[in-house]
Symmetry: C2
Subunit: 417 residues, 2 copies
Amino acid sequence: MNAEIIAVGSEMLTAGRLDTNSLFITEHLNSLGIEVSAKHVIGDDCDRLVTSIRRALSDADIVILSGGLGPTEDDLTRDAVAQALGCSMSADAGILAAIERRFRIMKREMPEINKRQAMILDGAEILPNDRGTAPGQWRTVVSGAGQKVVLMLPGPPSELKAMFTRECLPRLAKIAPPTAIHTVVLRVTGVSESHLDQTIAPIYMGRANLTTTILAHEGDLQVRLRAQCDTIEAAIALSEEVAALAAEAIGEHVYSRDGESLESLIGKRLMDAGQTLVVAESATGGGLAERITSVPGSSAYFVGGYVTYSRRMKTELLGVPETLLVQFGAVSKETAQAMAEGAKTAAHADWAISITGNAGPSTDGDKAPVGTVYIGVAGPDGIEVTHRVWPVNDRGRVRAFAVQAALDLLNRRLRVG
Amino acid sequence: MNAEIIAVGSEMLTAGRLDTNSLFITEHLNSLGIEVSAKHVIGDDCDRLVTSIRRALSDADIVILSGGLGPTEDDLTRDAVAQALGCSMSADAGILAAIERRFRIMKREMPEINKRQAMILDGAEILPNDRGTAPGQWRTVVSGAGQKVVLMLPGPPSELKAMFTRECLPRLAKIAPPTAIHTVVLRVTGVSESHLDQTIAPIYMGRANLTTTILAHEGDLQVRLRAQCDTIEAAIALSEEVAALAAEAIGEHVYSRDGESLESLIGKRLMDAGQTLVVAESATGGGLAERITSVPGSSAYFVGGYVTYSRRMKTELLGVPETLLVQFGAVSKETAQAMAEGAKTAAHADWAISITGNAGPSTDGDKAPVGTVYIGVAGPDGIEVTHRVWPVNDRGRVRAFAVQAALDLLNRRLRVG
């Protein structure tokens, strides 16, 4: 069973907008064993919409439209579906009353154009919208072999998600083929995406009932292994078998086998050990602390951070000797070491991470080339400084890679300890 | 003149992946006066691809495909385009030699499958790839009325962007209709997207030759006014006229009229005044410092930041009295004030921003409800503390909103001074 998703709206075709609703829909369709075979974005043009809906219905069992259910002339989804299916529409008195009520609560009169939102396709089921005025619609279409479904959902993500979860998933579950799905997520860092894929492709390629996806985000990689079988036991066995083989092939670069993030894993390890962490960063400007504190409850082990952007702060707060900064430069192994040691001492913490580097675009008079970063990790068993260079010439990416590498280094130390 | 964009690859149809290449392509097509009339994502299925390419060619003047040019069996774009156009392909000796050379440099033998990447459509122009092995292809198609173009680009964003900019834009500029475009970007904060749209819709609605887009990202709003006219003078006049009316209607919430970001604007104002800034944050955990230092050259005015996650750090580094923390709590107006004053003094800075709050999900024993944030701004002319509550129950969003609000407050103070 397959589905196509059509996002409707000219604003979705501009350079600043992406259709993210389809990710949410895809995730839930996949969990029911329904594949998404194509996605489309179509502007507010009735003829194009009618053509797109007819094409999608000829190719897929389920066609899901999002957006274009507002009250204005530009909101054409209702008309286009009616035209594509050759069926008529009529105003629903209950919906109309509900819209009028919403306006009364806001102490405003309902504009005439809002009546359009009460137009329902003949034969469609109404999907109530508890977060906005436009109801969704579920319309079954009898086609040659069996039945197909056209689904109309509102565009605003909060309205769409609530409606899809409450109204559509139970209906879709009834028509979805009986199937069981199990997904294992390996999280990996310290290797490139292409190297990772080359390593594990021989393991996952050609496996029946298994879908493998590799996601990469600024040095953080996810291998998603999704098995779809007749029974849940078979799906678990298949995905776990492939995950074990893949993890063995990737080796030490796998940091978690249950999808857990690096920052969350570090938090658990620190809590288990009853230890605390402090950070001192310059090049990453707070990004390392920000990532660590993105974990709820991180105040239990994270003492705080020093964003020592000036030399004076490095000296006054962390006790990095002025002479050392002059002799070796702010971007140096010696400075990274002094920052980590200074932060650990000043904050009375068990662990300290330091980052100093040059994220670019200019070298700021420093001798170190753009992309050069030194990372120090000081712990109960001593200090280690690592030198990395990312020749990407992209300030944001160098900073993100440096944060990722720093977390990876700490996690490896915690894993050993 | 219109274009359709087809992103190719089954991985682009999974729940974790979005086609972002199309945003880059759209922006550049629009700058040439070429509209994007539809976007599609199609999996690695040759029949579906052939159908999609034929449909797009029947609807659009330019069809741009991204992805599916790799060496594996799954990479079907070349074959699908050849089939859709009914033309043959042959291996290009120069491309083949270049791929072999790339592998030699990496000291590896070229796998047999990489030969597929040298297959070029008869009649196509080769678009060299300086960042990967797969060349792009530009194929003109004679159709009834005139000529259409099919463009094949590699999927990895860095390869696509470099190739599109260098090879495609000059070719597209030659066939694009003569037109002049001018865009004005108003940047706005402190109002909701719906309120903003309601305010300015009467101004931009129904204007010929004007496209208006509102983008919202965690409290930061952009109003993009793009005029497309016969002459550049007309385009500038139209977009500037509407921008002036919109800016007047929005009032003090407009912080820049040339697209400049809040953090960059703050940087310029501090540099002009020869003043420095320090931050002290707990709830945002480094996110405020991270955003300020995302601006290249920020070390000229940003002294550094204190991420005071523990009470001890608030006391030791910022001199927040222990008794004050006990009496009013860490999330309080009094603590925010003491943090800003303490940071300003400790770092010898002209300005200090403090943030203390509860981003959730739990209240950590604090009395302040989730979403409560206090922001202090201390400057040469005194200190001000603002209290905000974002009842969104989303740790990441509360933190991002708090950073945005803090930057807004500082910018307003700097604007007045």
